[in-house]
Amino acid sequence: MTEHPRTAPSGSEKSLAAAINAERVTKVFGSGKDKVIALAEVTVAIQQNEFFTLLGPSGCGKTTLLRLIAGFDHPTDGVIMLHGRDISHLPPYQRSVNTVFQSYALFPHMTVAQNISFGLEMLGKSKDHIKKTVGDMLALVKMAELRDRRTDQISGGQQQRVALARALAPQPEVLLLDEPLAALDYKLRKEMQIELKRLQHETGITFIFVTHDQEEALTMSDRVAVMNAGRILQIGTPRQIYNHPVERFVADFIGSTNFLAAKVLASEGRSARLKLSSGKEVKVELPEGMVPADRVTAVVRPEYAQLFAKDQNNSDLRGVLENIVYFGTDTHYHIRLPDETRFVIRRQNRLEDTETFDVGQTVDIAFKPNSVQVLRD
């Protein structure tokens, strides 16, 4: 994840090197009473050679954005640029962008090889070039033996590979992937995640990947954009998104987290002093551009907090252990705080664990100040 120097920390700034630049893109479907705003002034810059993921629940606008980039729909307002060229209103066949469809959309009346050569034929490439590229692509996705099969005679995972090869064959500047792994079973999905990373690395093509699966987004992406209700809430590397969510939706949608009410005692620039409900004070860093109100919500990830049976002098919170759930690799401890909110701690299980907790006992919770993240409410 570290060897991507081109990855910018935030996607909002304009950049000429960006593969895709979307500026204040709005998409409205229908009119009058049936009007639906699918995208509301979305601005994002996706760098060249980047594995960029649009993550969000269904109906958040991620697929709409993908379709606008592909050219199947056109923005109601705003501009989409491909390497600095305005492509907002070009038809799909005039932009060097290819799509891997969720349903694969392989041509049923063609063989595997014919499917892969289709785009090249349409571009008017020479016979030799087509033959060579199709061979290369089949090798790239490890499907060479099945080149003359009909697409309904191969398995779902194989269809997935053919769809990838077909979209990669014309060597597009940007490859769009619309939840391509959704139809695969768990094990195959894991394999394909690694496979996709490999393909992106080998081809050097910009990948824009749409998914509602946070795990997929975190494991594969260079950067993730979290979307909800037609807006991009946060853009960042998987680590930034996970460790420093700036909005409640992002914190809640990715992983599980603990929400804590806190009072702002003092703030200066981006640093602030908070008072938790237990009376304990912590120093935190505020999200960029946030003007803190009197009361804020902070989050702490379950695995960043520690649990103590004994009375700790510098414990941050205290509560009653309500439930213990054993997961094999780790154990979840559900604690009820005095203000009736629930706090979950995840502890990695170790063979040498001796400390045991009992339901009903009073426990102390401690966490490092830098694991507390304040949300923009």
Binding site: P91, T99, F101
Partner: protein, 310 residues
């Protein structure tokens, strides 16, 4: 143990016999209808084609191949020399030609129509389909006369063209092959649209988007993706139009004015004024054979298509 086996096999035998008997009993009504309504009448027609014609219609029970001979050949009344029955051949040729053009025109009009309906939102599709079927509510004869009203010399089209001074004298459209073709196209258009729609409705429009995405222009998408995928609908619609067109007789009678005959009129003539039932029967069987050959070709192409990729 061997005894047990014998009993078992006896029981199985009995069960098998019973199920065979039951399936025969169950299919009896269908077989009866099929015999009374299709095979039986066909057999009668076939037998009649090998009999001698009666003086006032009907048949005389006397074996003769005259009828079959007369389908293709003509014996001169004066010197008994043999010639081809060129009137029959001309009519046959006209029937095939007009049916072919009718099929082509209905396809040219029906394809975009079906595509239009198939791409409407699901809720409005049924309304469009309903509109397509409205002409069926009116009798065929009345619809045909309506067309006659439009294309005759003092009809709607000529009047409009004359009044707009586009033409000086009315265009004679009535009683021509063109008139017959227009009439048949109108009558058989729904038979083309409905099967086309059925196959287009099942078309996965993701495939169309995928083709656009892979740099195919509109015409390429149509040629390389849509047409190959809706081919079964195209063939089914063509058969549904071509076959009844071959045997049509109301439309050619009204719009062709009796001068431009088609096979259907010729056959009707033999059973009516011509009083030559055996010849009519032989012509009917000829028509049936042409249709069968057309269907056979269809089945072959379909099979070849599905085998082609394997």
């Amino acid at each position: 143990m061997p005894q047990n086996k014998a009993i078992m096999s006896n029981l199985e035998e009995e069960a098998r016999r019973r199920s065979t008997r039951r399936s025969w009993l169950l299919s009896t009504p269908a077989l009866l209808v099929l015999f009374c309504a299709a095979s039986g009448p066909l057999l009668i027609v076939l037998v009649y084609s090998f009999l001698t014609s009666g003086e006032y219609g009907g048949v005389v029970w006397e074996f003769s191949t005259d009828a079959w001979f007369n389908v293709v050949f003509l014996r001169d009344i004066f010197d008994d020399t043999l010639g081809l029955a060129d009137a029959h051949l001309r009519i046959l040729w006209r029937s095939v030609k007009l049916s072919f053009f009718t099929t082509a025109t209905t396809l040219a009009i029906g394809f975009p129509t079906a595509y239009f309906i198939a791409t409407r939102p699901r809720t409005t599709r049924n309304i469009w389909l309903f509109l397509i079927t409205i002409p069926f509510w009116t009798n065929l004869l009345i619809r045909t006369f309506a067309i006659l009203e439009m294309i005759r010399n003092q009809g709607l089209i000529n009047m409009v063209l004359l009044n707009l001074e586009i033409i000086d004298s009315p265009i004679r459209m009535i009683f021509t092959d063109f008139a017959i073709m227009v009439g048949m196209t109108y009558v058989y258009l729904p038979l083309m649209v409905l099967p086309l729609y059925a196959s287009m409705e099942r078309l996965d429009f993701n495939l169309v988007e995928a083709a656009y995405d892979l740099y195919a222009s509109r015409s390429k998408v149509l040629r390389r993706v849509i047409i190959p995928l809706v081919k079964p609908g195209i063939i089914a619609g063509s058969i549904l139009v071509f076959i009844p067109s071959l045997g049509a007789f109301v439309t050619p009678r009204v719009l062709g004015g009796g001068k431009k005959m088609m096979l259907g009129n010729l056959i009707e003539l033999q059973f009516g004024a011509g009083r030559n039932w055996p010849l009519g029967a032989a012509l009917s069987i000829t028509l049936l054979s042409i249709v069968m050959i057309a269907l056979l070709v269809y089945v072959r192409t379909i099979q070849k298509d599905s085998d082609g990729l394997r």
